[in-house]
């Protein structure tokens, strides 16, 4: 059973308060009782016993069943002896209120049903010993029994939820540690790949192949690592556009974004993602061998701006404008319509020998 220190603290406060009450009540009625000397002995014994039980209950290892049982037996004996010590006509036991301590301890550290049983036992002995036929007393006893059971039940629930919380915290810590270790491993791999990319070309044509392969693997691994982030997203209606665009990074495509996340509606992210990948497909097909592309993501106030530029062969703007008629740049139309469906504007700039540049500007409101 899991230990929640607050439970003991609360219990100790109740038990000590009850003891103080017992001492006060007994001190006041000491002159009028049948056996004052015995009552003084009871007061001392109860104080010592309270101290011992609190010491025992403070730590889970010392909460032995025999202490709990002895606690209950002591309570029953004191309650049973009360009429003899106090003399006829007394309404309360020698340990009023304090009688709740032993049943409470059983309810807290064993089970609520044991607590209820103990409370019933104490109440019955109390009523029997007092030989009171006053029915009005029964309500108080019943309340005591119910409270003891309820308390035990609540504490069990509290303990379960604390246990659950600790389990979740522990697994989160384990996951963070695993992520840290994998980052270390991946970083080592990335470093070796970078070294191969750097030095292999000097080994001739085969080295060049090695360097290219290393570069591809580096990009793949980095993409994998980046897609790992943000998977803890709870909100599924928005997406991090920076992470979405990052997936286009490759040996020939550089992605530049602000630090942190750029959250936009899922639909905006998906459409821009498609538009960018169509532009990049065009670059790969038509910009010429060795052409590179750069994607820049900006947030200007409320607007989101995505620019895609390549350093390829470019062309006449007019050719691009009616390219869809010739079918060569058939996707051009869908690039524009994707962006305008989002309420945005797509601008195209190009000239022969100067590459092609697209700019997509999506107004605020759609972006979050």
């Amino acid at each position: 059973m899991m230990d929640v220190p607050e439970i003991f603290r609360g219990y100790a406060l109740v038990r000590v308060t009850a003891l103080v009450y017992v001492l006060a009540v007994d001190a006041v009625r000491l002159p009028s009782v049948a056996h004052p000397a015995v009552l003084v002995a009871v007061m001392l014994a109860v104080s010592a016993w309270t101290a011992f039980t609190l010491w025992s209950y403070a730590s889970p290892a010392r909460r032995r069943t025999w202490v709990l049982v002895l606690d209950l037996v002591a309570t029953l004996v004191l309650v049973a002896l009360s009429p003899w010590v106090l003399g006829p006509g007394s309404e309360q036991s020698v340990v009023p209120l304090w009688t709740a301590s032993a049943p409470m301890a059983l309810a807290l550290w064993r089970d609520w049903s044991w607590g209820v049983l103990a409370a019933v036992l104490v109440s019955v002995v109390d009523l029997a010993a007092m030989t009171s036929t006053e029915v009005a007393n029964w309500g108080g006893k019943l309340g005591f029994v119910l409270l003891t059971g309820g308390l035990g039940y609540l504490v069990a629930a509290l303990r379960r939820s604390t246990c659950e919380r600790e389990r979740i915290t522990a697994s989160a810590a384990a996951m963070a540690e695993r992520a840290r270790l994998s980052r270390l491993v991946h970083d080592g791999v990335l470093q070796v790949l970078a070294l191969v990319e750097r030095d292999a070309p000097s080994f001739g044509p085969r080295g060049l192949l090695m360097a290219t392969a290393a570069r591809q693997q580096e990009v793949e691994l980095r993409r994998l690592l980046q897609s790992d982030h943000g998977e803890d997203d709870i909100d599924v209606t928005v997406a991090d556009l920076a992470a979405v665009l990052d997936r286009h990074a490759s040996a020939s495509v550089t992605i530049s974004t602000p630090a942190g996340r750029v959250l936009v509606d899922n639909e905006v992210a998906a459409e821009l993602d498609q538009a960018v990948s169509e532009v990049l497909t065009n670059v790969a097909r038509h910009a010429g061998p060795g052409a590179k592309a750069w994607v820049l993501l900006e947030r200007e106030g409320e607007d989101v701006v995505v620019s895609v530029r390549d350093n390829g062969v470019g062309g006449q703007l007019e050719d691009f404008e009616d390219a869809h008629r010739r079918g060569r740049f058939g996707v051009r139309h869908s690039i524009r319509s994707r962006v305008s469906d989002l309420g945005g504007v797509a601008t195209l700039r190009t000239a022969p020998g100067r590459g092609v540049e697209w700019e997509f500007r999506i107004p605020g409101g759609r972006a979050q």
Partner: protein
Amino acid sequence: MSETTEMPRRVMLVDDHPMWLEALGADLTEHGFEIVATAGTGEEALRRARAARPEVIVMDLQIPGPDGATCTELLLKEFPGLHVLVISASGERDDVLRAVKAGARGYLVKSASPEELLDGVRRTALGDAVFTPGLAGLVLGEFRRMVTRAEEHNDQGPVLTTREVEVLRLVAKGLAYREIAESLFVSHRTVQNHVQNVLRKLQLHNRVELALYAIERGIHHDD
């Protein structure tokens, strides 16, 4: 290059990969730099920089503690004249930005070619800013963030001129300084100066932001 006679040549390399240290060190030595120290951890970097007093530091961001960005912050606080070039394999954006805000002169990815790296170190040594398109995108985003934050405090944020924004966007879109100079009809040096100014403003405003943050938190003494 006539300025090379003036160029600081005492370099310290910080990286936890011995192979990498060796390769870069050999390249730099071959081109007239002197490797005065190398370090594999943040702790070593701090200790050895104090002892060897390099003029240029090539700093990998992913090193055993304290990390490269923190080392950059600490070392530049202690030696403001130091030129730091930040290198990273995994391109962790927040760390790159932190190092640059603390005063690093530039940033390159580890997969840059040996020529690019050599050129980067050379430019860093001369005090020029070394920007990749990725870093330009980060810095643009950071200025916009800082302006928004300043507006929330009814404050004047760090302001970039239209020209500076223009240059930064062109760098982010992969244009070389030469191409930027051509398309804006200015000299190569002017482009370089714009980039430099942007970096200076970023670092200056970073100090202002840190001070503001300290005041907001009720820390009034300056240490």
